[in-house]
């Protein structure tokens, strides 16, 4: 509206531009920007009925693994879920002081750590800021191709495009040092994750995760996650290494005989 008024003033001052043309151009530009769906906000994953697995994995059904993956699955000892054990070797949350922890959770595991995330959108890029250990994902939406020049990384390389109201995020270039989830499902460097993110309504975000890794899984698998918006929250500090300090605290709190 302001720009239309400015156009009118210029005409009065003797400008060659007609106010109607200027207004139309500004509206078209504004419309183009406003037509990009808005996923921004601080979101927290819901516990949906019938999804008790949601604390540690993405699907109620156990995915069919190749022999390569089965061997690694057996060696992975989680601290969460139905296979959890006391002497976990989980790279993020081990349960023994001797095991090193707090390695990056990677994608899509990062969604399973129960802390909110914030989506920040700017032209050409969508940022996902995770409260869990302050990880940030960059999803390039400016049409660039994948860039794996850095070699395999913990969070891979993400590019996205819009299909109507859905942001389709394509991620490759992972190293194989992470678990797919907190239940210990392994993956290879061939992992290809596709996420479909859309705002179901003003207060609800839906993210469908598809995990494709033929070296590890007979067929793709994954699941749906739902998130509530929290306009009054902000992302706070949460440092994974405090978990390690917690172990020390527990050790010191035990009664000395």
């Amino acid at each position: 509206m302001r720009n239309c008024w400015m156009g009118s003033i210029l005409v009065v001052a003797g400008s060659l531009s007609s106010p109607l043309v200027l207004c139309a151009q500004e509206s078209a530009s504004a419309k183009a920007q406003s037509s990009t769906p808005d996923l921004s906000g601080v979101w927290n994953k819901k516990n949906m009925p019938g999804t008790r697995y949601g604390g540690y994995t993405f699907s109620a059904e156990e995915p069919s693994m190749t022999p390569w993956a089965q061997e690694r699955f057996k060696a992975n000892k989680p601290s969460f879920g139905p296979r959890s054990v006391e002497d976990s070797n989980d790279p993020v949350n081990p349960t023994t002081i001797s095991a090193t922890g707090c390695f990056p959770p990677g994608v899509p595991r990062v969604y399973l750590h129960p802390f909110p995330l914030e989506i920040v959108q700017s032209p050409g890029r969508v940022l996902m800021i995770f409260e869990f250990d302050h990880y940030i994902r960059q999803i390039w939406t400016d049409g660039r191709p994948h860039d794996t020049s850095l070699g395999p990384t913990w969070f891979g390389d993400s590019i996205g495009h819009w299909e109507g109201g859905t942001l389709v995020v394509d991620t490759i270039g992972f190293n194989d040092k992470t678990w797919l989830d907190r239940g210990g499902h392994p993956h290879s460097e061939d992992l290809h994750v596709v996420e479909r993110m859309r705002r179901v309504d003003a207060k609800t975000l839906q993210i469908d995760v598809n995990i494709d890794d033929p070296k590890a899984y007979i067929k793709p698998w994954g699941g749906r996650m739902m998130f509530d918006i929290h306009p009054n929250w902000h992302i706070s500090e949460m440092i994974c290494e405090d978990n390690v300090n917690f172990d020390e605290f527990l050790k010191n709190e035990k009664p000395k005989k």
Binding site: S79, E86, E131, W233, M238, N245, L250
Partner: protein, 127 residues
Amino acid sequence: MKNRLMLLTVAASVLLVPSLMLAHHGQAAYDVTQSVTIKGTVSNFKFTNPHCIVSLDVKDEKGEKQPWQGELTSPNHLVRVGWTGQTLKPGDDVTLTGFRAKTGVNSMWITKVVLGNGEEMKTGGGN
């Protein structure tokens, strides 16, 4: 005979002192089918990740103090439902309800907190 009895009682008390067995373990160490409620006096409140810890003394039927510990979720979640690091202080009365540790030690995963003034505090989301 009296000394031996005292020795046995002391040994038993040491065994019953709470210890949170697993480190960052979620709720696997607790019996979610068994809920207990205790009332006591706060001796310590650790407001830190991954889980906040309430330490308190509870009088048993003999009137003797028994130490207990209760776990709460991350402070990141608790502040979002009204907590601060000073919500509980040493000397405060508190009533806690929660799932008892499977081994039977004086330890729980807290599901309900009622302060000394009768105010109930939300315990946030689970972990």
